[in-house]
Symmetry: C2
Subunit: 692 residues, 2 copies
């Protein structure tokens, strides 16, 4: 942040106008065109918002009349809607609001506002905020929490309310209808009356935008807060405590969404502490919220240092419990079996839990993908996961279809994204990280949407006309499409593969720096006595015989958790896709790749390509300057430079580190290292202040 | 050094054989071929050495008979020699030794040992050691002093003697015949009886190789050591003290060479402290050594913060004194008017002092050229200076000819080089820095030698056969020439221009880091209250109107210190060579260069080219691996990587720094920055341990 402030200071002294600071996100003020709004709905807060948005953002025919109609319609699912001639029709007030945002988005991005039915893929589309009561944000790179703060923690100011409304509006504009407003590593504090007052204030601010509040809860809250001797889920007093607490919450927040629980994982307490199962724990909480229509989201992110392969554990723990959960419990499963790595195969739990509701969890905040420094558009990664075929119910059983109710009759469907929002003016630290918030919402609404379309929409909404009136001559639009939209969109679409190339190509994973908060390379990190499954060597398994984690039938047999024909395909290095090769295989350095290169060469080419790609991004952005306001241009340019150095460091560090095992020269065609391994390691280990 | 030890440790655990550690320099052991030596000279130590070298290194006809003949010969100058059929003829014993080394060098580098007269260009060919009594070496990057040490400072060990002999032998092999064995920022300690005992021991070790000892003296020694009230050179008691001290020295060291003095410069005391001139000071000392045939080398490196242009001061101070010095005083002038920068025009004192002996001083240690990290062959830089035409006595009055007695009737001629030698096993820190020691000696012997020949010789002597018996099949020789010699020689010859490109192109100078001992970029460095002429902005003068130091007739008029037609050529930016453009001119950022580019673009292209060139060096070296022993290969590869990062940092730092003034985009064709200016500055300013 110091760096950012520095450059902003430079700008503010030199430039002057600061019309575009990113705070408006993809909802930048439009030139008003008059519109008449007619509604059959009572003028509830949600409908009022729908009208207001129409009046603020209408870009259709001047003086047109637009109807907002609430009407029974069996074809409309959840809070979906129909676009009808000159209006929106829905079965819920939120549906009307979403319909309005859809119309406006189409107008603003130059698409036809044609008639049609638009249903959301998931009933619940949620952000998870890893925000702590002290205002810090775990894995947050955009400043402190927008919900909590250290001092005067519980006084709700006018500024708070405005910010919460802006936040809820942004969510509503992309269809997000829920937010877990505290960290999954939860403090029991959140359930104290003092904090619940603030929870109510937040819920009140969200409500007009159709966004529900959820809370992450600490499983031992009954003992910690209620003074009980145990938090055993099968203890009636414990259940009673939760029922009472739930009642207290619903009194304050009648549309409270429910609980999110991280239990028996990474030091968090859970039912296993009392000899109970995940199902016992989840069901007890589910019973508490059931009378109010609430939900329990129970995270499957569990692992212990006992097992030989961390990637297998969630499956092993949860599959035996399939069918044992209440119908208002939904198992929240990270996209991959380890932990939000730049590339993972999909979690084998998707499709494998057939009698239990399952929801995908994505990470919007870039814990392993460059924090708020590197430009990485995550939509392609999520699209890749959603479109992965699990084969669990025949060909075409994609992760998307296994979680949205198409394949299994789930009572509830949902998708969660770990938020990247903080107090920074532009909300997300990196201007382009806004696109990940946007993309998450769009994919949660429509899980078959293409990333290219999402990027296209977001760029038009976020940057069009930043340096010229939006009503400028057609020449501007044409130039903008050619010189800005096309190259910048391509950069976004390439950016995740680029990050994979320069950090963890070919299925490598979890080899990041431990000392720098998971930013930059750290394949060497393995202090004495550290539990192995927290150290990179556990994951890359590099030695003189080769590199990669043997998860085949001769190894940990994690492949067996996948359905055929996928299991066999992954099991054979000749058929396993290059992208997942070292995830599933420990292969000799001279293994012959499909490209004809050795594995060692291929690694080198991937790392080098990543570096060259970031440099290309820098050039793309430099050329985009005429179309971007000075402030956002300079900040993104600044961050791309840092990313460029980061990419070089990844490449040098990993290739030189692995070379100690391969004993092979670097491919002659790649750029030679610009530093030495010992210097990189010394710098990685150097004490430093945290800078985010 | 820590880094180097780390990699050597790695090597020693993996490799095994350490046949080539660089300690033998260019004098690696040869396969013995029998030879008979016949000599008319008495078997003095020097002649004994000549014989021994012949017997150790003979590669001519087995059983040949070689004569070493002392004979009067007016064509032989100083300690020159004739190569005659099957022998060497000289007028001095040292001449015989040099003749032997010449024969052996020719044999070992595949040149014909044809007859001929070989005279040295300079009578005195000296190394200056900036070694302090505590064993530290100012601007030394190859470990502690080989002459002095902190503990047991004055006990001379067998190891000391061996090292001094090896050192003297290396000097003799390239014709160096003198060494100033302590720092020009001299401690009075050197003249105490205790230290003089050690000086004698060193002189004794040198003598068989024809190398004389000289001392740098502190001008105020009479007051500091002798208890006098003054050190005024015109005070008879002061002169008497020096006479007495000189006598004491010559009693211990009968062939003592004389004194080197840095006076009235950078805080060192001098005659000006007593209202006397440089001539007064130098002459007084000259009178003291005169009876013994000694010399005084008086440095012209003087400047004060008072003048508007530091580059002009030495000329201004010394030219009025021309003709006022004793004939055994020689003014020692750095190659350029400022201070050993990567590129400077020659000092205008060369040729301008017409009635005073003048000697060039070069810096072998790489203070401003990458320490012992960056590979920079300095021979081309010195060649450039020596061949520069001063026009002071008509066309062809090169610096070489103005200092070697060809143009002016100097009583004494000399050349000095600031040594890069220390206790490191390979003597010079970087294996390729040995080449700079070698080249200095060769150029001091023959100031019209070409750098290509010097590099050719040095590479053959230093690397040939490192991974194969030297008597290997002709195929090895051919391969070696093509695959090693040609590309590595080209790398050496390109290396200085490369360093200029990535650090200070187009006449930029003195913009290095102050905080990191002159390694890396620091154009921003200008703490409050720091004297301006020690800060980079004084030298680059960058502002919104342009960059460069206006030394034209409208500026400091330093150009007037050069002789016509050079003065006018330099004065006009259209005729001033690009290499010196910003040395003499402050030009607008959009100034049109001869290339057609703007000055700003040209700067960008030069910095970028420097980076690309270092990367090319890395590739050249990687390809050379089959011809280099494991140890030297790995260390040089390691250092090239550091140099590569250094080059990138120079490029990014300088371009981003200057961009603050130019307000122009970087040329699209160059590699975009991999870091940001504020991060680079913060890193530069970060407290760190000194690592050399």
């Amino acid at each position: 942040m110091r760096k950012l402030l520095f450059i902003l200071l430079l700008l503010s002294t030199s430039a002057g106008l600061r019309a575009e600071d990113g705070h408006q996100l993809w909802l930048r003020k439009q030139q008003a065109v008059p519109v008449k709004v007619v509604s059959s709905a009572t003028n509830s807060p949600v409908v009022a918002m729908a009208k207001q948005e129409l009046q603020q953002g209408w870009r259709g025919k001047a003086g047109a009349s637009v109807s907002l109609t609430l009407k029974k319609d069996k074809a409309i699912k959840y809070d979906g809607f129909r676009l009808i001639p000159n209006g929106v029709q829905a079965t819920t007030e939120a549906g009307l609001l979403y319909g309005v945002f859809e119309m406006l988005r189409r107008q603003q991005t130059g698409q036809a506002v044609s008639e049609g039915l638009l249903n959301p893929s998931y009933e619940h589309r949620l952000l998870n905020h890893w925000d702590n009561p002290d205002g810090s944000v775990e894995r947050g790179y955009a400043g402190q929490s927008i919900f909590w703060r250290k001092d005067n923690a519980l006084v709700t100011t006018a500024e708070d309310k405005t910010r919460w409304q802006q936040y809820a509006r942004a969510n509503a504009s992309v269809g997000i209808n829920g937010a877990v407003i505290n960290n999954v590593n939860a403090s029991q504090l959140i359930l104290t009356p003092e904090y619940l007052v603030r929870v109510k204030a937040i819920a009140d601010a969200f409500r007009p935008y159709g966004v529900k509040v959820y809370l992450a809860v600490k499983f031992t809250s009954p003992a910690l807060l209620g003074g009980l001797k145990t938090s055993d889920p099968l203890d009636p007093a414990v259940a009673a405590w939760w029922q009472s607490k739930t009642k207290e919450i619903y009194k304050l927040v009648p549309d409270f969404g429910g609980f999110l629980v991280k239990a028996s994982s990474e030091g968090q307490p859970g039912p296993q502490d009392y000899g109970r199962t995940h199902a016992d724990g989840a069901n007890m909480l589910a019973d508490a919220v059931k009378p109010y229509g609430g939900m329990v989201m129970w995270r499957a992110f569990v692992y212990s240092p006992n097992d030989k392969d961390r990637a297998k554990q969630a499956y092993n723990e949860f599959v035996p419990l399939d069918g044992k959960f209440r119908d208002n419990v939904i198992i929240q499963v990270k996209n991959g079996p380890v932990d939000f790595q730049p590339r993972e195969p999909f979690s084998p739990l998707f499709g494998a839990l057939k009698k239990t509701s399952v929801m995908p969890e994505f990470q919007i905040t870039q814990e392993y993908l460059g924090h708020a420094i590197d430009l990485v558009f995550l939509s392609t990664m999520w699209e890749e996961c959603l479109q992965s075929d699990t084969y669990q119910a025949g060909t075409g059983s994609t992760v998307a279809r296994c979680t949205d109710g198409s394949v299994y009759p789930q009572k509830h469907t949902a998708m969660a994204g770990v938020s990247n929002v903080g107090l920074d003016t532009n909300w997300t630290g990196h201007d382009f990280a806004q696109a990940n918030w946007y993309a998450f919402g769009r994919l949660a609404w429509n899980n078959s949407l293409k990333s290219a379309q999402i990027a296209d929409e977001w760029l038009k909404l976020t940057f069009y006309g930043a340096t010229a009136p939006q009503s400028a001559a057609p020449k501007y639009a044409a130039d903008w499409n050619t010189n800005f939209l096309a190259p910048v969109k391509q950069m976004m679409l390439d950016s995740r593969e680029t990050a994979v190339n320069y950090s963890m190509p070919l299925g490598l994973h979890h080899i990041m720096s431990a000392t720098r908060g998971h930013y930059g390379p750290g394949p060497w990190w393995a202090p004495p006595k550290m539990r192995a499954d927290w150290t990179p060597p556990y994951y890359h398994q590099a030695d003189s015989t080769g590199v990669g984690f043997n998860r085949t039938r001769t190894g940990s047999n994690a492949v067996s958790q996948y359905h055929e024909p996928l299991a066999s395909q992954l099991n054979d290095p000749q058929t396993c896709p290059d992208e997942y090769l070292l995830w599933f295989h420990h292969l000799p350095w001279d293994f012959r790749m499909k490209s004809g290169h050795t594995l060692w060469e291929e690694l080198g080419y991937h790392y080098d390509k990543g570096v060259q790609q970031v440099r290309q991004f820098q050039k793309v952005w430099d050329k985009a300057q005429p179309y971007v306001d000075a402030e956002r241009f300079a900040v993104v340019q600044y961050k791309l430079r840092s990313q460029s150095g980061n990419a070089v460091q990844w490449k040098d560090a990993c290739l030189l580190y692995f070379q100690q095992f391969s004993h092979m020269p670097l491919p002659a065609a790649i750029e030679p290292p610009a530093s030495n391994l010992d210097a990189i390691i010394a710098n990685d280990m150097r004490p430093r202040r945290q800078e985010n």
